[in-house]
Structure formats: C-alpha cells, structure tokens
C-alpha cells in the first residue's frame, strides 16, 4: 500500500511538473489578486482585521482555482479508469491529498511574502502568523480534496467546486482570520491552531470513509 501511495504521489507530481497547470493557475490568481488589492488600496493603512480578511480571501479563492484540478484532470484526460484499475482507493486519495497540500503550500508561500511586502503589514508574531497560515491552508486542502473528487464526477464545472466548498471551508476560514488578526497584533493563536488541526483531522477521516463511494464507477 505504501508503495502504491508513493507511486501515485510520484506520478501526480511528475505530471504537474511537466504540465504545471494547477500551480500556474493558482499562483497567477494569487499574485494578481494580491497586487490588485495593494494597488487599489493605494498605500492606505488598513486595520489588522481587514488585513486578515483580505489575506484569507485571496488564499481561499486561489485554492478554489487550483484544488479541483487533481481529480478533474483524470476525468478530462480519460485516465480515471486506468487509475481505478491500477491503484487501490486509499492510495489514490492519499496521493491526491498530499498533492493538494503541496498546492496550498505553494499558494501560501507566494501570498505571504507578496501580501506582507506590498501591503506593508507589520507582524508582531511572525512565527505564529506562519503557523496559522500553514494550519489554515492544511484545513482547506483536507476538506476540499474529497469535494474535488465529487465535482470531477459531476462534470467539474469550475464554479460548482467553489459553491460546494464554501460552506464546508467556512469554519476554518473564520478561525484562521481571527487567529491571523491576533498574530499580526501580537496575541495568542494556540486554541485556533488546535481547532484547525482538529478540523483537518475530522474531515480527512470522513473523506477516507466516503472515498470508496465517491470513486467507484456506477
């Protein structure tokens, strides 16, 4: 099983490295939106709450542009059946989850410096800020991977993924915004990070249980 998981991870990363589709779309969106926000803000000093809000809106929509790709690609390119005949379900899901986590890591790694630089944010607790960015991004990836699989089977129309993901992602989004605001201002974020990790854990567990039902051909 481990071998199957690793084979799938290697395969997904190799294909993405050659096509660079998901990463390009997500990164372009993240960069353009961050620049748009900073240009239209015009150097105005924003409240910490506003910063936290904008930061996570950018991350959320960048995620919506990049996270459904890993499953939709299989259906569109006609490789889904091939995948079904070679790899056990658990291996497929684990590899896709790892891939989505990596996409979120890339998005966060791009948005954090761009946002902080262009919007001139002074962060009182940078360590905590980074942790919240990681935990929040992980929560988004954890909850939307199974949803991406569902949407891929439904035809994968772009806005459908956002529509069904938004209610599910809302709790970690709220908590991340609060915790980010807190870490910019210098407060604590431990409870929020625990919440985000618990959320990720619960959603991953449910996704594993449901994945067999989502993945099988009817």
């Amino acid at each position: 099983m481990i071998e199957a998981i690793l084979a799938n991870i290697a395969k997904d990363f190799r294909i993405e490295f050659r096509r660079r589709f998901a990463v390009n779309v997500a990164l372009s969106f993240a960069a353009i939106t961050t620049l748009a926000v900073s240009l239209t803000a015009g150097g105005a000093r924003l409240e910490t709450r506003t910063h936290a809000l904008l930061f996570w809106i950018i991350i959320f929509f960048s995620a919506m542009n990049g996270l459904s790709h890993v499953f939709t690609r299989e259906e569109e390119e006609g490789t889904a059946l091939f995948l079904r005949t070679t790899s056990p379900e658990l291996a497929v899901f684990t590899a896709k989850l790892v891939f989505n986590m990596a996409v979120m890591a890339v998005i966060a790694a791009a948005v954090v410096p761009l946002y902080v630089f262009f919007l001139n944010v002074e962060i009182a607790s940078p360590g905590r800020f980074a942790l919240v960015a990681c935990a929040g991004s992980a929560a988004i990836a954890s909850s939307t991977t199974a949803l991406g699989a569902i949407v891929a089977r439904a035809g994968g129309r772009g806005s459908l993924f956002t529509i069904i993901s938004f209610p599910v992602v809302l709790p970690p989004l709220w908590v991340s915004i609060k915790a980010t605001q807190s870490s910019i201002a210098g407060g604590g974020a431990a409870q929020s990070i625990v919440f985000l990790l618990a959320f990720s854990g619960a959603l991953v567990a449910v996704s594993y249980m449901l994945f067999g039902h989502i993945w099988i051909e009817e």
């Binding site: 949407v151 970690p172 959603l203």
Partner: protein, 221 residues
C-alpha cells in the same frame, strides 16, 4: 393515516393558541406572536437537515442496495428543510425589524440559518450538475455526510465569532425571554404541529417520488 389526523388536530390548535390563548409578551407586545411560528420553523429546518444526514449515511452504508429508498428521503427532506429555513429566515427577519430596528444583524442564529441555506444551495447545485448520472445518489449523499460532519464545528465557532442579539433560553441563560406557562404551552404545541407537518409532508413527497419512479418503469415496458 395517523400523522395526517394529528396534523389536522395540532396545527389549528397551534394557530389558535398562538393568537388567542397565549398572552402578549411584556416588552415585545403582540409582535411576540411571531415566536410561535419562527422558532418551530427554525427547529424543523434543523431536524430536516439531521434526517437528511442520517438518511444519507443509511443510503451509503446499505451499499448492496439495501436502502435505495433512503435517497428519496434525504432528497425530499432537503427540499422541505430548505423551505423551512427560508420561512424561518423570513419570519426572523420581520421580527428582527420589529424588535431591533433592522432586517439583518449577523448574529449567531441568523448566521447559522444562512449557512444552512448555503449548504442546501450547494446540495441542489450538485444534484442538478449530476442530473441523469447513475452516481447521483451516492455523490449527493456523500456531500450531505461531509456537510453533517462540519456542523459541530459551526456550532462551536459561530458563537465565538459573532456577538449575540438572540434571546436564547437554552445556550444563553442570561438573556432569557421570560415565558409565562401559557406561552410555553403554545410554543410546545406549535413546535409539535410543525414537526408533525414536516413528517406528513415527507411521507407524501416520498410517496410521490415512488409513484413517479414506478410510472417511469411502466413507460419503459
């Protein structure tokens, strides 16, 4: 059928009690009568969601085709839940205007009902994207199960994120509306009436779905 009879008894009773039997509240006056409609509708929308969630689990767990009827149940319950949530939002909004001066305030309860409506909206969008596909039942059931899993997190987070205007005898004892015994009784009767109505409508819509399916089968032969 027993439920139909009960609805015929309880619903008129609830309406009469709401307008005649229960006294007007001290501060709120006659507007307090909205209580007997708003609260049961909100309660039914939550119950409908729970029924949808449980039926989805049953549908998926009975994978060998043991509970195919569960699909009609979770779908019809979702439809009823949506109507109920819309009505709860409408009545709540009117009451909010009368009591606090504005139609919308983003307090925890108002936020929760919006989220429930968002989930239902997402569910119906998914259903229509899956129209005609054999996997529609499983995939929409899977989505409801995921939505159900997220609910406890909402319940935990919302009160911490949004300040509350809602008087809430259950969670927030400090903001009780003082309910006189007649009001309590009227509320209970109304809650029972709306719950019975929900189950009654669920049975009817399930039967309609079954008949529709049978008609389709017949038209193939």
């Amino acid at each position: 059928m027993a439920i139909t009879r009960l609805v015929h008894v309880f619903m008129p009773a609830a309406i009469v009690m709401a307008f005649v039997y229960a006294p007007a509240a001290e501060v709120l006056g006659e507007t307090s009568r909205l209580l007997y409609f708003h609260v049961p509708l909100a309660w039914v929308s939550v119950m409908a969601f729970a029924v949808s969630g449980i039926a989805s689990v049953a549908f998926l767990a009975g994978s060998k085709g043991r509970f195919p009827a569960a699909e009609t149940t979770f779908h019809n319950s979702a439809t009823l839940g949506t109507f109920s949530a819309l009505l709860a939002t409408a009545t709540g909004s009117v009451w909010a205007k009368l009591m606090w001066g504005s139609y919308w305030n983003w307090d925890p309860r108002e936020t929760s009902i919006v989220i429930l409506l968002l989930i239902y909206f997402a569910y119906f969008s998914l259903r229509s994207a899956l129209a005609g596909k054999a996997s529609r039942g499983r995939l929409s059931a899977a989505y409801l199960v995921i939505a159900m899993t997220v609910m406890p997190f909402f319940v935990f987070v919302i009160p911490r994120v949004f300040r509350s205007l809602h008087p809430d005898p259950v969670i927030n004892p400090g903001m009780k509306i003082l309910l006189e015994p007649e009001m309590k009784l009227a509320l209970i009767v109304s809650a029972a009436a709306f719950s019975l109505l929900y189950f009654h409508l669920l049975r009817i819509t399930n039967r309609v779905s079954k008949i529709q399916a049978a008609m389709e089968d017949l038209s193939d032969e």
